[in-house]
C-alpha cells in the first residue's frame, strides 16, 4: 500500500513538472535569465506548488500521524551552516549551467539523450561525494 501511495505521489509530481514545462531546460533557463528575455512561467509553478503545499500541510498536520506511517518525518534543524549555504550555492551554479534540478532531470529519462545521461551519472556521483564530507561543515 505504501508503494502505491509513493507511485501516485511520483506520478502527480512528474505530470506537474511536464505540464509546467519544467522538463524543458530552455524554459527553466529562460526563467533564470532575469536580465535577458525573462520568462516568468516558473514563478507560477513555484507559487502554485508552495501555496498548495502550505494549505495542504496545514490540513494534513491536524491529524496525529500519517495514514500509513507512525510519525510525520520532518527536518528539525533550524541552524544555518556552511554546508547548507555552500551546498545550495554549488547546486545553483549547476542548475544555471544545465537548466536541470534533480526532479526534471530524472523525470526526463523518457527522452534520454547522451548529455542527460551524463548529467544523471554525474549527479549520482555527486551524491556519493557529498556523503564523504564531514557531517558538519
Amino acid at each position: 500500500m505504501k508503494t502505491v501511495m509513493g507511485y501516485i505521489a511520483g506520478l502527480l509530481f512528474g505530470l506537474g513538472l511536464a505540464l509546467a514545462g519544467m522538463t524543458d531546460p530552455a524554459r527553466v533557463l529562460g526563467f533564470l535569465d532575469l536580465f535577458g528575455a525573462w520568462d516568468p512561467t516558473l514563478m507560477f509553478v513555484l507559487g502554485g506548488a508552495v501555496v498548495t503545499t502550505f494549505i495542504g500541510y496545514r490540513v494534513v498536520f491536524r491529524r496525529e500521524r500519517p495514514m500509513l506511517g507512525e510519525t510525520f518525518q520532518l527536518p528539525t534543524r533550524q541552524d544555518l551552516d556552511g554546508r547548507l549555504i555552500g551546498g545550495a550555492a554549488l547546486f545553483g551554479i549547476g542548475w544555471g549551467l544545465s537548466g536541470y534540478c534533480p526532479g526534471p532531470a530524472i523525470a526526463s529519462i523518457a527522452g534520454l539523450t547522451a548529455p542527460l545521461f551524463a548529467m544523471l551519472v554525474a549527479m549520482v556521483a555527486g551524491w556519493f561525494l557529498a556523503r564523504a564530507f564531514p557531517a558538519r561543515g
Partner: protein
C-alpha cells in the same frame, strides 16, 4: 507575457503541491527529490525503500503519459507537442553541471522540491536561505554564461 504558459505553469505547480501533500498525508514524508532518490542510491536497500522506487517510477511516467497523448494534455516545452526538451549543452558541460547539482543538493540537504516547495511551505528558515541562495546563484550563472561569456546571445 504568455498567459497560457503561465496558467499551465500554475496548473503544473498545483499538481506538484498536491504530490507533496499526498506524500505527507499518506507516508509522512517530505517530497524532496534529491533526498528520496539520493538516499535510494547511496545507501544499501532497507525495508523502507519500495515507496521510493515507486515514487521514481511515477516521476518518470508523468512525462511519459503526456508524450503518449502526443503532449495533447498541453504542456509548455519549447516546441508544440514536445514534452521533454533538449539539454542545454553537450556531455562535458552536463557532467560538470550534474556533479555540482549532486554535490550541492547532497551537502545542502535538498533541492528545488525539498527546500523550494516543501521547506518554504513549512516556513523553514533553513529552506528559505537555501532557496534564496540557489536561486541567486543560478541567476548569476545564467547571466555570466549568456551575457558575459556569451556576448549577449
Amino acid at each position: 507575457m504568455d498567459w497560457s504558459a503561465s496558467l499551465q505553469g500554475l496548473v503544473g505547480g498545483v499538481l506538484i503541491g498536491l504530490s507533496a501533500v499526498w506524500l505527507m498525508a499518506t507516508l509522512g514524508r517530505i517530497a524532496g527529490i534529491s533526498g528520496i532518490v539520493g538516499s535510494l542510491v547511496t545507501t544499501l536497500p532497507k525495508g523502507d525503500s519500495a515507496w521510493r522506487v515507486a515514487f521514481v517510477l511515477g516521476l518518470i511516467s508523468g512525462p511519459l503519459l503526456l508524450m503518449l497523448t502526443g503532449g495533447g494534455l498541453g504542456n509548455v516545452a519549447g516546441e508544440p507537442g514536445e514534452v521533454v526538451g533538449q539539454p542545454a549543452g553537450g556531455v562535458g558541460l552536463m557532467l560538470v553541471a550534474g556533479l555540482l547539482v549532486g554535490v550541492g543538493t547532497g551537502l545542502g540537504s535538498g533541492c528545488t522540491s525539498g527546500h523550494g516547495v516543501c521547506g518554504l511551505a513549512r516556513l523553514s528558515p533553513r529552506s528559505m536561505v537555501a532557496t534564496a541562495t540557489f536561486l541567486a546563484c543560478a541567476i548569476v550563472t545564467v547571466y555570466v554564461v549568456r551575457h558575459v561569456i556569451g556576448g549577449g546571445a
